[in-house]
Symmetry: C2
Subunit: 265 residues, 2 copies
């Protein structure tokens, strides 16, 4: 059970990592991230790929959180504060009152993630998903349907950004993922590892319902609006979700849920 | 083609309906609503069930919006303003620079919506969906898959709330919907009209993939977290979306997309 340390002053240096959360969301945290809320804290405590460096919670939450806190290593400080001090640290009213500072440990390379996948693995490849709600929603669906991992190109936003993790209900801490290097050819990579590359597009040639996967499969999603590039579509099998006349737009996270449901179970 | 009227002063009474948008979002607009952005304005201009009362746009948008504006009746005033005046009216920086004040005209009762549905209609019934993102996402999916309409209980939030309409990409202006009266028995209503009532629940008896619909079908969704009440589940056919071990949570809008994809086309 970690030590409980009361913080009386928002300027206390021990909780400097939590100060002005929103401003620091924007500039990034050099490999660290903020986890928020009870569900995400539990995922962090149980994640083999991430470690909590410290926890900061509202005093009134302490008793109810004890079961989760007792799962943390003894060396992790648990800071508590009254609501006013907590709000002073965060820079806004921290309604949930549960924060942790985390660090991603060993992150696989895209090559490692693909090489270590099962013979019938299903992975998700994201090109240009810059919206935190969408990244979070896609990770949540990947966890719900047991996808084996995600590959993100360099233009996708950070899955460990506070809001993305919250929207994912902590799935960004449980589903393996890797980043493609800048300019790295993601399609060549997955094909080298024996994945069939399948792109989702409103103009896709095969309706999703008729697509049957076998062996390693990588489903590729692009940003809403622009979608995937003509080059990606030309190099991959294209699949569409048929829609009502005059409406050809689904949210990309919803699309990932429909596709993963169809291709699993 | 409507008249174009330049507004020079944020205090001008002619644009009073647009003043302090966020504050008025919270208190409601007595049957009126604010539509925001180009796509939503186009849906409003074409909706048989809603009318635009006026439009307020940034001067710089005028030329590009002419094709949509010319679809509006001649009697609808189109106000334009410079960005500073526009921001002063709205009370925040109005990035998109495109607003309309709209009114819902004839709204069907729940009874009328059900009575007029096709013999094989698919409708969506929502209990307790109070989140604007989720309401918007569900309407978007209903439009994408051609659902015949939605029924909302009295605890659902307003689909015409600005953010819900924006998230729906204007689908709240195109898909028919009706409100259940306070305390009205929605399940008795849909069954009276010959709909099979189908509830989505993680504990549902039939996996979605094995459910085959015939005739009129009403799929029922509850809020994330609490889900549908035991009473609703006991009175209806229950269907589940099987998920990976240890993860039993999908976003409700994503769930609606998966279900509508499965049951249409």
């Amino acid at each position: 059970m970690p030590d409980i340390i009361a913080i009386e002053d928002a300027a206390d240096e021990r909780i400097a990592g939590y100060r002005d959360i929103r401003e620091r969301d924007l500039v990034g945290r050099q490999g660290l991230f903020i986890a928020e809320g009870e569900v995400v804290l539990r995922m962090l405590a149980r994640s083999p790929d991430h470690e909590a460096l410290s926890v900061l919670i509202a005093e009134k939450r302490l008793t109810s959180l004890m079961p989760i806190l007792s799962e943390l290593p003894d060396t992790i400080p648990v800071y508590t504060a009254g609501q006013a001090v907590l709000d002073g640290i965060a820079g806004f009213h921290l309604h949930r009152g549960i924060l942790a500072l985390g660090r991603r440990m060993a992150a696989p390379t895209a090559d490692e993630l693909c090489a270590n996948a099962r013979p019938d693995a299903l992975i998700v490849v994201l090109f240009g998903i810059a919206n935190h709600d969408n990244i979070g929603g896609i990770f949540r669906n990947a966890a719900a349907f047991g996808a084996d991992g995600l590959l993100l190109d360099e233009t996708c936003c950070d899955p460990l950004y506070r809001k993305a993790t919250r929207v994912s209900v902590g799935a960004t801490l449980s589903v393996p993922y890797a980043r493609l290097g800048q300019g790295e050819d993601g399609i060549a990579l997955i094909e080298r590892h024996g994945f069939e590359a399948v792109s989702l597009s409103p103009a896709g040639a095969t309706p999703l319902r008729r697509f049957v996967r076998s062996g390693r499969t990588a489903v590729i999603f692009g940003a809403e609006g622009p979608g995937l590039s003509p080059e990606v579509l030309a190099r991959t099998k294209t699949v569409s979700i048929p829609m009502a006349t005059g409406f050809d737009s689904l949210n990309v996270a919803t699309t990932s849920g429909i596709v993963l449901h169809q291709l699993t179970g």
